[in-house]
Symmetry: C2
Subunit: 333 residues, 2 copies
């Protein structure tokens, strides 16, 4: 693990070109107080020796790592991928490097990750992880790392947040459903330990049902396609209809497929809405009605907010992304 050993340093470059460290430093930092000749000379030996400055040493000397930490539960979700993609784009554009931390849905890991984020001296952090709460973010903040939190309303001096608007739209859709049809029992699919967004939408769901004096069900499902497909195959042996609200496309797809495979019709017998719609909502057959938020845009926005935050230029500390509802084949409306 001695990869730094033997690397050409600024000192050797200075020696080889007959100038001082300071001059070499000026050249690599593109400062203009260097004669064209000396600059050329230094640049030549840099090229010849294949010198690359050490980001580590630079960071230590300047107090800037140009590195930002990203905390996610797992890379394995499509919406997280989209989010990451938005982040990487801005990072590249603005010259930041990214450190990826994942917590695997465990509080212990999350605490650990928090420590790592602090010690790794990032210039900022973006947290999209329900294991970490306001207090944790405050801790990060106390170490002077500006933070943007996704999907959690957090306040703080060095903190911004972007939140998702689902509740309103879900309530609206349900109201509409109750008004125009409402014949099937509304069923909310609860995934164990699946975080704030689910909890909030569940609350909104209950509220909408209560407001309309409708009976509803909360059903526990497994967070995997295969498992929940099987569960719903069993379910549809005794139940022949339902108006389902599913957290993720894959769960929605499990219901749709199980229903179809059980001889039920979509959307006549069974209707399904996916809360976190991705491009796969469009690929399954029947296609899935879903709520959508462009997570790539969320990633980009988070980066921009973080950069502003670092420069003390963030005016609007909370940014809300409203979901849009896209009706497809899995619902009548």
């Amino acid at each position: 693990m001695n990869n730094l050993k033997d690397r050409v340093t600024i000192y050797e470059v200075a020696k080889a070109s007959g100038v001082s460290l300071a001059t070499v430093s000026r050249v690599i930092n593109k400062q203009n107080n260097v004669t064209p000749e000396t600059r050329a000379k230094v640049e030549a030996t840099i090229a010849r020796l294949g010198y690359k400055p050490s980001g580590l040493a630079q960071a230590l000397a300047t107090n800037k790592s140009t590195n930002i930490g990203i905390v996610i539960p797992s890379a394995n979700y499509v919406y997280i991928s989209n989010f990451l993609n938005g982040i990487t784009e801005v990072a590249k554009e603005k010259g930041f490097t990214l450190s990826l931390f994942s917590t695997s849905h465990s509080r212990d890991d999350a605490i650990n990750v928090l420590e790592k984020v602090i010690t790794s001296h990032v210039d900022g952090a973006i947290i999209f992880d329900d294991e970490l709460d306001e207090e944790d973010v405050a801790k990060l903040s106390s170490y002077y790392v500006p933070t943007v939190v996704i999907n959690n309303k957090v306040e703080g001096e060095r903190t911004g947040c972007v939140i998702f608007g689902y509740e309103h739209n879900l309530i609206h859709i349900l109201e509409q459903y109750f008004e125009k049809d409402g014949s099937k029992c509304p069923i909310f699919l609860h995934v164990h330990n699946c975080g704030r967004l689910l909890a909030r939408t569940e609350k909104a769901f209950v509220k909408a049902c209560n407001n309309a004096s409708k009976e509803y069900k909360i059903m526990n499902v497994d967070d995997s396609y295969t498992r929940s497909y099987q569960d719903f195959k069993a379910y549809f042996k005794t139940h022949k209809s339902g108006y389902f609200i599913a957290y993720r496309d894959s769960i929605a797809a499990a219901i749709v497929n199980a229903a179809t495979d059980s001889g039920l019709n979509i959307p006549e017998d069974v209707e399904v809405i996916s809360l976190i719609g991705t491009k796969y909502a469009n690929i399954t057959r029947p296609t899935l009605s879903s709520f959508n938020i462009n997570l790539q845009e969320v990633g980009k926005r988070a980066m921009y907010m973080l950069i502003d935050l670092s420069n003390n230029e963030l005016m609007q500390k909370t940014y809300k992304f409203e979901s849009t509802y896209v009706k497809r084949q899995s619902t009548k409306e």
Copy 2:
């Protein structure tokens, strides 16, 4: 961006506990040549002051960053997500931090990323990106960064690679198809600029067809579901059959959906195989026959290889993952 400013340093801890820097350093590095009493004293003030060591300074002093660089084209593919997930798991287990670099399928970006990987002083790198070739890896190697390359056979002192076995299996499947049926024209879907794996499988495809003296077609398709769905809707107006080899699930799904929506039957009229199968092959209807490689395992393996490489303990420098073929509903066999 002065996030380091005001952070508690080892020096302040030393002063506050009335010991020297060295002692504090010993304590935080869990060396055993410290009296329990002084250790306790130091630990107390560390806790009181909320001191966290600077990873930067540690890395500079020890020549070890415990950070490894991951180079990918984009975070936006399911198979890349799976790969990342495998990596993050091992990283956590072994105490590494990850730096994520994405090249966006551009050679320029890739070169840029390479520079960044070098300057960021990672202890190693994992490259899963077709823009970077053997020469680039050699460059990395010349800066003493051990590297594991995915999907490219690369040799070098500080280099390992994991490669994917598709050709054999594809040829086998095709031979079988020609033998048992072979009535439909085999069509390989070429995605512009889509990298080595596609090129290799395309070659294998051509070879198998030639060996069997079968006519075949290579068709250019767009690398997006929506676009290729439209293209195939148009295509199936005039063509009523085909045996398609698609690169990705989403392309395979586009064909299957377009065919179905055009009144054709799967697999009677149209058969489709997806080369890079993901869990979505199982979710679409009809389900997609596909070749599978567990990319999570690939990620894990790459990490283990990299760690061994760093310790000069990597015996087997090339590791091959054979794809497995899973027949589903989109083919007869």
